[in-house]
């Protein structure tokens, strides 16, 4: 156990598992009721900037019409994708609450996760590199004297900071 905790690979795998489980759970959701699900994928077209089913714009001229249209589309037996396409064809792509048309829209979803994964990998790499450099420095004591080059005033300040940031 001691060895495992000290091993970066152990932590990397733990993090991988945690991230994977989050992604898996995030993908689950097939059981949502279609009206509620689709109503939350659309924006109200009146310009209030609200999700269709959350629009409370007083006397909104558009949301009741859109909700009726959504009910009608569901009753016609169209698939989710077909219904959303119908709304996009009628109101334009900004009617979708999030970009889900495929193509370049996918970049909206992929880029944040890619950046996050790359940044996480980068952070692990930096930590690993720093740790390795530290070992090299410890092995060569002459190189480890950066702190010793501080003036007495700086050392006193560093000590005070150490006390104040002590956890």
């Amino acid at each position: 156990m001691r060895k495992a905790v000290a091993n970066p690979v152990f932590w990397a795998k733990t993090l991988q598992c945690a991230l994977l489980s989050l992604v898996v759970v995030a993908m689950l959701g097939a059981g949502e009721s279609r009206f509620d699900h689709l109503g939350h994928e659309l924006m109200c077209s009146c310009g209030c900037g609200q999700i269709l089913l959350e629009c409370n714009h007083v006397s909104c001229p558009d949301s009741p019409v859109m909700i009726r249209e959504l009910h009608a589309q569901l009753a016609s037996g169209a698939s989710d994708k077909a219904i959303l396409n119908w709304f996009v064809a009628k109101y334009g792509p900004t009617i979708l609450a999030a970009p889900i048309r495929g193509g370049f829209d996918d970049a909206a979803w992929i880029v944040p996760f890619t950046v996050f994964v790359l940044a996480t990998a980068g952070t692990f790499a930096i930590v690993w590199m720093w740790k390795r450099r530290y070992r090299t420095m410890v092995a060569a004591p002459a190189l480890a004297g950066a702190a010793a080059q501080l003036t007495p005033e700086e050392s006193a300040l560093r000590e005070r900071i150490r006390r104040e940031t002590e956890y």
Binding site: V5, A6, M43, Q50, A97, P99, A108, R163, T165
Partner: protein, 707 residues
């Protein structure tokens, strides 16, 4: 024709402020160059002469504050005296406007809010220049950089968006009035607080850039700017949440955060500022991450400007349309100049930013800070990406897309939960390296608390696998509550562990020992209190997964049930006020059979002013720690003429606002200097606690000198 000469006085003050600021910048730069040249013996004039020139620059900087403050006063005066010859006052005020809102006219529109920005910047500059003895040379650098920023805003006010421009033609008898949506007490406070935060980050930015320019030795500049950064962060935090509370209480859609680009613009510098406050500790304590910290504060400052650009330029579609204008080009240019200066200085001086130490272990405080920064910046990137993606999409596909709450929630909630997780484990890890024994000792109780909370919630009915419709939301809430239990346990454990040692030393009771412990190391324990506040806010946010809503047409005697509440309609009434007509319902609220309160949701139709004729709902709210009963008068059914009442039950939402108060309290604690104990007190405590474990060098009685 003007009513009085105040607008001329205001314009004159702005021009004078600009001249003084230009002098501060020019003379300050020259003095800094001359002083360093004299030090290197390459200038012909003695150093004392350059120092005198620097002193005149400092005083001109102080005087510029007076000039800008007078300009702001002139605009407020014009609002209070209903001087509609000033176009800005005509557009944002009217005779009937409440005096408090007349004062708020200063920041109700574009030109006024830019004047507020310039005023706050000169105010921060005043404090910095008055306290220049903290470090005369570094402050001179920071003062010159602040003057450069100030020149931009004053130039903008004098040329691009003058607040005192005169209304063409005859003076109108009345103004257009203030947008009714903004006539709310929190709206008086929200913009200045937000601006205090935005502008406040200019000071650590100026210090960081100045320290880099002058190759300032050591980490003292960070120590000097720590309080500035915390104060700016505090203002920004309070400003953001005051805006959220306003949106919740006024807009009537039942939520508090809509991921609008302007909201995002305030969140981004908050995220990078928070990352800076954490990672800067690595530089203070270990001399690490110097490059990173410099870029964090540079980015934070640039994001505050980007936020203003997004707000003003109309680059992205926003519901904050009242703030759009054509001054975007000014901000593009300014951001480019700032970025160029930062890049140039960084590459010129980057050898000065070498780390003194290296990481010793993956399981350490240092790596927890690294991951904390990673998460905060990932969240910031996501928000920036989501905000700018519509523009990118239009460029690539030729059509804009909407980036609404579904995008941000799906991407940011897992990131937020990871951050909550790190909030808990970070403080439990030791600097340099954490031993296995320490991990076991520190993590057992929080892990048990986390598991116990998860099990208790599942037994209590929070079962994501049963919630077909809201599986995601329920799962994330379950995670958030469980993590919150673990983090709160970890924080409590930390307090108790320290308090027990102090109790042994001093003989005081546990509570007094905890207070003393906090006073001995305000930064550390203030930080814990802030973490606690953040966790409480997460609890409030997680409650959103269990929101309920019901809507029905009501008339006298009708009943609407939601959660444990029953609403009984007592009357539907109409009334007329000088500025609006109103319809409101009187609803008695019962919990079971017990009368709780009466709520009066209202629908107003404003007619005062020509620009702001609109309908507005006034939310009726019954707030408890358990849930908010949120009732809206939605309008009348055109067919039946009966009012439509919508009721929402928002669980735990009050904890968000309580969490913010805790964060504010924690920040105040962290800002207070530590107490140190005198030798006599130390001896006395050592006698009491003979044989007890020693906590550390810090103690009580005398105030520590502080930079």
């Amino acid at each position: 024709m003007q009513a009085h000469p105040m607008p001329d006085f205001g314009s004159f003050c702005l021009l004078l402020g600009l001249i003084l600021t230009v002098y501060t910048f020019a003379a300050g730069s020259l003095a800094l160059w001359g002083a360093s040249a004299a030090g290197l013996r390459i200038a012909h004039r003695p150093a004392a002469l350059w120092n005198r020139l620097g002193e005149t620059a400092r005083r001109a900087g102080i005087a510029s504050f007076i000039a800008v403050a007078c300009a702001a006063f002139a605009l407020v005066w014009a609002a209070f005296t209903n001087d509609f010859s000033v176009e800005y006052i005509r557009a944002h005020s009217d005779i009937a406007l409440n005096p408090a809102y007349k004062f708020a006219t200063l920041w109700s529109g574009q030109e006024g809010s830019l004047l507020l920005w310039a005023g706050l910047l000169s105010g921060y500059g005043l404090v910095l220049r008055v306290r220049h003895r903290v470090d005369v040379r570094l402050t001179a650098f920071a003062s010159t950089i602040l003057a450069a920023i100030q020149i931009f805003f004053l130039l903008l006010l004098c040329v691009g968006a003058p607040p005192f421009s005169i209304h063409p033609g005859a003076v109108p008898a009345d103004g257009a009035g203030l947008n009714p949506l903004l006539q709310y007490p929190e709206m008086v406070m929200h913009p200045p607080l937000l601006y205090l935060g935005y502008v406040g980050f200019s000071v650590p930015f100026a210090f960081a850039l100045g320290a880099l320019m002058m190759r300032y030795p050591g980490e003292k500049w960070i120590h000097i700017t720590r309080r500035w950064t915390m104060v700016a962060w505090l203002f920004l935090t309070v400003g953001i949440f005051m805006g959220a509370h306003w949106a919740y209480s006024v807009l009537g859609w039942g939520g508090y955060w809509g991921w609008d680009p302007v909201e995002n613009a305030s969140l981004m510098p908050w995220l990078t500022g928070t990352a800076f406050l954490h990672s800067v500790m690595m530089q203070e304590k270990r001399g690490m991450m110097k490059n990173w910290n410099v870029w964090l504060i540079f980015s934070t400052f640039m994001l505050t400007i980007l936020g203003t650009l997004l707000t003003r330029s109309g680059l992205v579609s926003s519901v904050h349309a009242f703030a759009q204008s054509n001054i975007g080009a000014w901000f593009y240019t300014f951001i480019m100049i700032v970025l160029a200066v930062c890049l140039f200085t960084f590459f010129l001086q980057r050898d000065h930013l070498k780390s003194e130490n290296k990481l010793e272990s993956l399981v350490s405080r240092e790596s927890s800070f690294l991951f904390n920064n990673l998460i905060l910046l990932a969240a910031c990137f996501t928000v920036l990406w989501g905000t700018l993606f519509p523009v990118l999409s239009e460029y690539v596909q030729g059509s804009k897309v909407t980036m609404g709450a579904p995008f941000y929630n799906r991407v940011n909630i897992p990131i937020g939960l990871f951050l909550l997780f790190l909030t808990g484990i970070g403080p439990l890890l030791a600097w340099r390296s954490t031993s296995l024994r320490s991990i076991r000792r520190n993590f057992v109780l929080p892990s048990i608390a986390m598991a116990a909370m998860a099990i208790a919630l599942m037994i209590g009915g929070v079962r994501p696998w049963n919630d077909g419709d809201d599986m995601h939301a329920t799962f994330f809430s379950l995670m958030a509550f469980s993590l919150a239990a673990g983090v709160i346990t970890a924080i409590t454990e930390e307090f108790l562990r320290g308090a027990r040692v102090v109790r042994t030393q001093t003989g005081k009771n546990l509570l007094a020992s905890a207070v003393l412990l906090t006073r001995r190391n305000t930064r550390r324990y203030g930080g814990y209190i802030i973490h606690f506040g953040i966790v409480v806010m997460f609890i409030g946010i997680a409650g959103g997964a269990f929101n309920q809503s019901r809507e029905m047409e009501m008339s006298y005697g009708d009943q609407l049930s939601i959660g444990p509440y029953r609403l009984v309609c007592q009357s539907i009434t109409q009334d007329s006020k000088p500025e609006y007509d109103t319809d409101y319902a009187l609803l008695d609220v019962y919990r079971g059979n017990k009368y709780v309160t009466q709520l009066a949701p209202e629908l107003r139709e404003y007619f005062a002013g020509t620009d702001h004729q609109q309908q507005l709902t006034m939310v009726a709210l019954h707030s408890t720690a358990q849930s908010d009963l949120y009732v809206i008068f939605e309008g009348k059914n055109p067919d039946t003429g009966r009012p439509i009442i919508k009721a929402r039950l928002n669980p735990l939402i009050a904890w968000i606002w309580i969490g913010v108060l805790i964060v504010v309290a924690g920040t105040f604690v962290a800002l207070v200097p530590n107490l140190v104990r005198t030798a006599a007190r130390q001896r006395q405590e050592d006698l009491v606690g003979a044989g007890a474990p020693v906590l550390g060098a810090a103690g009580v009685l005398a105030k520590a000198p502080h930079a």
